[in-house]
């Protein structure tokens, strides 16, 4: 059987498991959700979505079980809904499930076509949406249902002052940077003519005209784009700090004044180009910092939006929906299927099944009995339950994790940035040298004007072009090389930290293992008599174990007969019971067999699924999570380059030790909660280790945010992706090996580039101090040093080609 693409989500699956349609033979669907959305789009004339999606893959539609009526509640309205000047309602949402530009197009289009929606704009960069609608025509819950119907989900978020300020700041920096880049590019073009003129000869008047043009372009760069440096320098001086802003603004202003002096008849050569370049280069760096800050705020909004904002409590038999902060210890809370528990507590009255993947990373639902602890943030995947709160919201697990994440993102340790440090010392040295030069020339020569010109020429010749280019150009080549290998570095500075990493912490589920169960062994014979009943029973549940059995049967048996089962009964978290004709059939775990007094003995370390016919177990399936391709190779590679590998998992010790043994991993930590995992990463860092953490789940987000470099698998949870520094787009473990190779090689070249530009300056600065700077030397110094750095960086990818 060959793999085939799902017509909606474009993910590839084995042909045997695809849903087909008799009257439409060209379409294949991996699930009912994809099939439903495909037909919905076709009916609404929106099937051009499939042209726009191109080669992008999207996740199958989210199956949301919770009720959207909470969006119409008064408490929700007061908190999230605002009224526009025209009298319409407006809400800010975070949309979940956006993968590509076509997803944005689809959501905007469907919302625009919905009666009552005035405007819906979704930002692709941060997946935030603003929806304006007419309350008299449509309720917000219907708007949310419209989004859910096409396979996405929406959460409200409180637009904070912080977010508004960061957005404004980003726009302001963007404008200043755009003008600086525009002017610098024009100056560069004029420079070509100017420097060519030095070699071929240029009249004095023509050169003067060229300088005037450069003056026109350089002036807005210094005074508009560079204004933030003047402001920074002023505040620095006010607090008695010599900062980078002071050096940048002093260097650029002095060069500008000197060039003005030359332009209006003075001796020498003008350097308006240097003014524009210095400001532009530093500003681009600052803009990237501003984007980083805005991203951190967006990440926090995404995390906050996924926290429930109210809970249902039961008081004297009456249900009340209340905000989380009024829940007290001892209150009885009701949680419906698909809802999240909001505070920690103890289960009362019945059994329950909870999806604890957000805490442990494990996809198998956990069965709870009366008296068991219910953790906030976990999802009820069974029937409606009630529990008693043992903690208030502020002290509950969910709130703790959110607060810790917030703190860690706000104070993400500033990784040492060699070039920035170097540039700072370089700039201070140059300023001092130029002061010494001025003093020396004035002392010995007595000519103030000449002393000033030579002193300024020292600053100009040391124009940090090559130094400024040393890191960005090498990083750019390194990052683009990484992108070719399916790795997305969110910021260039992580290349340096990555290259120095000596410890890798790997999450288990989803990183080392696939996170999907597969049948490993079958005890007993699956004969034609029981196959239809077994298949029908496995088809009756969406539990991961049932799904794995169903997949196994579909793969191994052709054309399974369909039969009707009667009296199908789901036994919460344990299995199913039904009648096949007049015979009772039961399928589920060992505990279910015990409960129904079906006696047998079976010992295994794997997850098990028994099938019993008329009180006798006739089949037992052993299931296990598959190891990911290339995990052993990755561990061998990391040991070869002396990087310590540790597995950290929320799973129990038995499973962890088995997985660790199977991949020859010596060190592992098991039964770690998200907070334990984060503390473990922190403790490694405290020991002086440079830690790379690889994970994919919500339970890894906190540990990821504490690591020096966080890597998330592209298919991981939104929160994990948001807090990561590097994203592995193709989910392949080979990419982790590649990232080590790329970052180490790139950093080697960054160091070479820095050395080259420093050597260059060591040669040219003494010439400038001696007063021998002629335009030709300046021209050569300006372009040659930069060319040298660019040329050297080009060699980074040569290794790959070999």
């Amino acid at each position: 059987m060959s793999n085939i693409k799902c017509t909606h989500c474009q993910l590839e699956f084995d042909e045997s498991v695809m849903i087909t349609e008799e009257n439409n033979p060209d379409v294949y669907f991996c699930c009912n959700g994809c099939q439903g959305v495909y037909h919905l789009l076709k009916e609404d004339g929106l099937d051009s979505f499939y042209e726009k999606i191109g080669n992008s893959k999207i996740a199958p539609p989210l199956q949301i079980e919770s009720d959207s009526s909470s969006f119409d509640m008064e408490s929700f309205k007061q908190r999230y809904i605002k009224t526009t000047a025209d009298g319409f309602s407006s809400v800010d949402l975070v949309i979940e499930g956006i993968h590509c530009a076509a997803c944005i197009w689809l959501n905007e289009k469907v919302l625009a076509n919905t009666e009552g929606i005035v405007d819906a704009t979704i930002n692709f960069t941060n997946n935030k949406a603003k929806i304006i609608w007419d309350e008299d025509t449509i309720a917000l819950s219907k708007v949310i249902d419209t989004i859910r119907n096409i396979g996405y989900n929406a959460y409200p978020y409180d637009r904070t002052q912080e977010d508004i300020k960061a957005t404004k700041n980003k726009k302001d920096y963007f404008m200043r940077m755009a003008i600086a880049v525009f002017a610098s590019m024009n100056i560069m073009m004029i420079d070509v003519a100017k420097y060519a003129g030095f070699f071929t000869g240029m009249k004095e008047e023509t050169l003067h005209l060229v300088h005037i043009a450069e003056f026109i372009f350089a002036t807005p760069v210094l005074f508009y784009s560079g204004w933030i440096f003047f402001k920074g320098a002023y505040y620095g001086l006010k607090n008695r700090i010599v900062n980078m802003d002071l050096l940048v603004s002093a260097g650029a202003t002095l060069t500008y004044i000197y060039s003005l002096y030359v332009l209006f008849g003075g001796r020498g050569h003008s350097y308006f180009d240097s003014v524009a370049m210095i400001i532009t280069f530093v500003l681009v760096g600052k803009y990237l910092e501003v984007i980083g800050k805005k991203n951190a705020i967006d990440t926090m909004d995404k995390i906050r939006s996924q926290v429930p904002h109210e809970a249902t409590i039961v008081e004297d038999g009456v249900k009340k929906v209340v905000p989380l902060d009024v829940i007290n210890v001892g209150d009885i809370i009701e949680v419906k299927r698909g809802e999240k528990a909001t505070v920690d507590g103890i289960l009362i009255g019945s059994t329950a099944t909870f999806d604890e993947s957000s805490l442990s990373g494990e996809s198998l639902p956990v069965e709870k009995r009366e008296g068991d602890t219910i953790y906030s943030g976990t999802i009820n995947s069974g029937k409606v339950i009630r529990y008693t709160a043992t903690k208030n919201y502020a002290n509950s697990t969910l709130s703790n994790i959110v607060n810790l994440l917030e703190d860690s993102l706000a104070s993400k340790p500033q990784i040492e940035d060699t070039t920035n440090e170097l540039s700072k010392y370089f700039s201070i040295t140059i300023l001092l040298l130029s002061i010494v030069t001025f003093a020396g020339w004035y002392w010995y020569g007595g000519d103030f004007e000449e002393a000033l010109i030579v002193a300024i020429s020292v600053i100009v010749i040391a124009c940090p072009c090559a130094l400024a280019l040393a890191t960005p150009i090498a990083s750019l080549i390194g990052i683009s090389w990484a992108a070719e290998k399916g790795l997305l570095f969110k910021e260039a500075k992580f290349i340096e930290t990555f290259s120095k990493a000596d410890t890798v912490v790997l999450d288990k589920t989803g990183t080392i293992t696939e996170g999907k169960l597969d049948v490993k062994k079958v005890t007993g014979e699956i004969n034609a008599d029981i196959l239809p009943a077994l298949y029908a029973l496995s088809d009756g549940s969406t539990h991961p174990v049932s799904l794995a059995i169903k997949k196994y049967l579909e793969k191994n048996f052709d054309s399974i007969e369909t039969v009707e089962l009667t009296n199908v009964e789901q036994i919460e978290g344990k299995g199913l019971k039904a009648y096949y004709g007049d015979r009772m059939i039961v399928a589920g775990n060992s505990r279910l067999m015990d409960e129904l007094n079906i006696y047998f003995s079976f010992d295994t370390v794997y997850t098990v699924y028994h099938f019993a016919l008329d009180d006798k177990v006739i089949l037992s399936f052993e299931l296990d999570d598959n190891l990911k391709d290339g995990i052993k190779k990755l561990i061998t590679y990391l040991s070869d380059i002396n990087v310590n590998v540790i597995m950290a998992t929320g799973d129990n010790d038995k499973v962890a030790s088995r997985v660790a043994k199977s991949i020859d991993l010596k060190e592992y930590r098991a039964e770690l909660s998200p907070i334990d995992k984060a503390n473990y990463v922190k403790s490694l860092k405290d020991e002086g280790k440079k830690v790379v953490m690889v994970g994919d789940g919500i339970n890894d987000a906190l540990a990821l945010s504490h690591a020096d470099v966080a890597i998330a698998m592209g298919s991981g949870a939104d929160v994990a992706l948001a807090v990561s520094d590097v994203v592995i787009l193709n989910n392949s473990l080979k990419a982790i090996e590649d990232s080590f190779v790329i970052s180490r090689r790139t950093f080697k070249f960054i160091k070479q580039n820095l050395a080259l530009s420093l050597v260059y300056n060591v040669i040219t600065i003494p010439i400038a101090m001696a007063g021998y700077v002629i335009p030709l030397v300046a021209a050569l110094s300006m372009s040659l040093s930069s060319l040298l750095v660019v040329g050297n960086s080009m060699r980074i990818k040569i290794k790959d080609k070999n």
């Binding site: 005035v118 692709f124 957005t167 404008m175």
Partner: protein, 79 residues
């Protein structure tokens, strides 16, 4: 020779600053706020998409007028 250069430089500077002005106008209007969407803009400029954008504008206009109308009617009723 120099007069030609003066002319060329003046025209060049005027044209480029005009373009810069247009860019600033577009940026202030929010066209570049969403960097990812902007990069994918090319995918969404078919005739059908332009028509949809026009229809959306008309829809917003009609809804605003309707709201205005109902506001006025409410005021009259109150009086």
């Amino acid at each position: 020779m120099n007069s030609i250069l003066i002319l060329e430089l003046s025209v060049g500077i005027i044209v480029s600053f005009t373009l810069l002005g247009i860019f600033i106008w577009a940026a202030k209007g929010g066209q570049f706020d969403d960097s990812k969407k902007m990069m994918d803009g090319l995918l969404f400029d078919s005739e059908e998409d332009l028509q949809a954008a026009y229809e959306k504008e008309q829809k917003i206009k009609a809804m605003k007028e309707k709201k205005e109308q109902s506001k006025k009617e409410e005021e009259v009723t109150v009086k």
